[in-house]
């Protein structure tokens, strides 16, 4: 009861007008911008070819989404903690008979789950428009992208939360969080020339989840030699989760054990 009430209040606040509307429009525009990159093929083509095109769309979409998703999660995560700390809502919540873990988890879910669902639903919608004749493949493949979007959101949220809890001020937190996401994006997007570059990319925090997706599908828009150069699916997934969970673990630990309301 306590958890659901707090989660509802947090979700309503984070996604109040115009945040939900703006995010949805931006994600939808992003998905439309990726769609023309994959040439739409006639419905009578082979299933394998359709699958390949859908996978191409999904991985390109997930790839393009990382920066946008990273930035929006960083901003919302910062507002959830630094703004609440600065304006006193965190003090109000921590003065109630609520465990700190419950407050932390509510804030985490209130940001990451809706953004994941918005990005996923938008992607499925765009795919369904382009590949209306192969909806079974669309839904089967789209299923796999859901946890990948969640991992990217989680990573960005975790970093932003950790920074916000340490900085405790809105402006420095937002600047530091967005800067950290931009730096991660830059190290995840160097000019690619050789297979070695792709191997390197697989180990970067923002590209590892996308590479996991490529591995799961067994298809790559970069070519089959790239696919062979990538580490195993398990390794990539573990790596992606580690990148997301390590800052989250420290943020959680700090919030539940150390955080003091000095404001």
């Amino acid at each position: 009861m306590k958890f659901s009430s707090l989660l509802k209040a947090e979700t309503e606040r984070v996604w109040s007008r115009p945040v939900l509307e703006l995010t949805s429009i931006l994600v939808f525009l992003l998905s439309l911008s990726v769609a023309p990159l994959v040439s739409v093929i006639p419905p009578d083509r082979l299933q394998a070819e359709i699958f390949s095109k859908i996978v191409g769309f999904i991985t390109l979409y997930a790839d393009s989404l990382t920066l946008f998703l990273g930035l929006i999660c960083a901003v919302l995560g910062t507002l959830s903690f630094a703004k609440d700390y600065e304006q006193g809502l965190l003090q109000t919540l921590l003065s109630l008979p609520l465990s700190r873990s419950l407050v932390f988890v509510s804030k985490l879910i209130a940001v990451t789950v809706p953004i994941t669902l918005i990005a996923w639903v938008t992607m499925v919608f765009s795919l369904s428009l382009s590949f209306y004749f192969a909806l079974d493949i669309v839904f089967r493949t789209a299923f796999y992208v859901l946890p990948i979007i969640f991992i990217i959101s989680l990573l960005s949220f975790s970093l932003a939360t950790l920074i916000s809890l340490l900085a405790k001020r809105i402006l420095p937190s937002i600047l530091a969080s967005t800067a950290s996401i931009l730096i991660l994006f830059m190290i995840s997007n160097p000019p690619m020339a050789t297979l070695g570059d792709f191997r390197y990319l697989a180990y970067t925090p923002l590209r590892a989840p996308v590479m996991t997706l490529i591995r799961v599908f067994g298809e790559s828009y970069f070519g089959s030699n790239v696919l062979e150069a990538l580490p195993e699916t398990g390794t990539l997934l573990t790596l992606s989760l580690t990148y997301a969970l390590v800052p989250l673990f420290f943020a959680f630990l700090y919030f539940t054990r150390k955080l003091e309301i000095k404001q």
Partner: protein
């Protein structure tokens, strides 16, 4: 522990609600609390002191929002940091700057807080609390972000009183209330304290108001408790007298007065000179001499009655 911090009279050990012992808290180089020790029994207690005395820091430690560097703080015999969750289940709290979920109406917000406090029949509890602070009509339809400062203060009070907690801690509860709101607020405290047995710890600068409701007072300055005890006891212990004077010109007169042995403390407020004297006869005898020496004229002279305000000023030396 200094003797004046011991509680005599009605207090028995099992009636102690708050116990603070050698509490020290530092914020970088600033020592906000320095070996602070006091006990607060049931009833209405006032935490008074000038800005920077450490009142809010003390309250935050009691609420488990700050961790003391040294010493121990207990509420209902429970450690304020380790058992914070248990304590918070028994406490209602109004911080100095209350913040809310601004997108909700006041009623919805209090229903949410009732649910988060685990209260049964949260709508009833919310309505009850709103009627206590006379906010029921405004709170129904307006979002909190549209509230005035006074309405927000009332909402914060309603939140603190929600579910009739065992102890209510209020940090500057009347700062944004109008005179009528303050009177109503004092009535609510009196009623809850006497009829429902709710204990209160109130930090406030408005001493005449505190005096009306407090049974017990902790006087703080520079992170320490200067005095703690029942209000009546502390007032009866005042052996000095405070005089309020209007003297023109006052500069030289004040300088001369400061050198007098019977003067305990002295301070200025606008045109007035306040002086706390130990031996009233000496003061009466010397006053004309000093005025003559300073070539000043005495326009007004009044003796201040024993009040929380005079206790406060006397203890702080102005």
């Amino acid at each position: 522990m200094p003797t004046d911090l011991r509680i005599a009279g009605k207090l028995m050990p099992d009636e102690i609600v708050i116990e603070v012992e050698n509490l020290t808290k530092r914020f970088g180089p600033v020592e906000a609390l320095r070996n602070l020790s006091f006990k607060v029994p049931e009833g209405v207690a006032g935490l008074i002191g000038p800005n920077g005395a450490g009142k809010t820091t003390t309250i935050k430690i009691l609420m488990g929002l700050l961790r003391p560097d040294e010493g121990n703080a207990e509420v209902f015999g429970l450690n304020c940091w380790k058992d914070s969750l248990k304590i918070r289940g028994k406490i209602g709290f109004l911080p100095e700057k209350a913040a809310f979920y601004d997108h909700m109406t006041g009623l919805d917000y209090l229903i949410l807080i009732s649910e988060l406090k685990g209260l049964q029949n949260s709508r009833n509890e919310a309505s009850k609390a709103l009627s206590l602070v006379e906010l029921e009509s405004e709170a129904q339809n307006r979002r909190v972000r549209e509230y005035s400062a006074g309405m927000r203060q009332r909402l914060g009070l309603a939140q603190a009183l929600l579910g009739t907690p065992e102890l209510v801690i209020l940090d500057e509860p009347t700062s944004n209330l109008d005179p009528l709101g303050r009177i109503q607020f004092l009535d609510v405290i009196n009623k809850l304290s006497k009829e429902a047995g709710v204990a209160f710890l109130i930090s406030s600068h408005i001493l005449p108001e505190l005096e009306k409701v407090c049974d017990y007072v902790v006087l703080m300055d520079k992170g320490r408790a200067l005095k703690a005890g029942s209000l009546n006891q502390l007032l009866s212990k005042i052996t000095t007298s405070t005089f309020r004077m209007k003297v023109q010109p006052k500069e030289k007169f004040v300088e001369l007065l400061k050198r007098e042995a019977y003067v305990r403390s002295l301070w200025l407020e606008k045109d007035l000179v306040f002086v706390v004297v130990g031996e009233v006869e000496d003061f009466k005898r010397r006053l004309p001499v000093l005025l003559l020496e300073a070539q000043a004229s005495l326009e007004e002279l009044e003796v201040e009655g024993k009040s929380l305000e005079s206790l406060f000023k006397t203890s702080l030396g102005g």
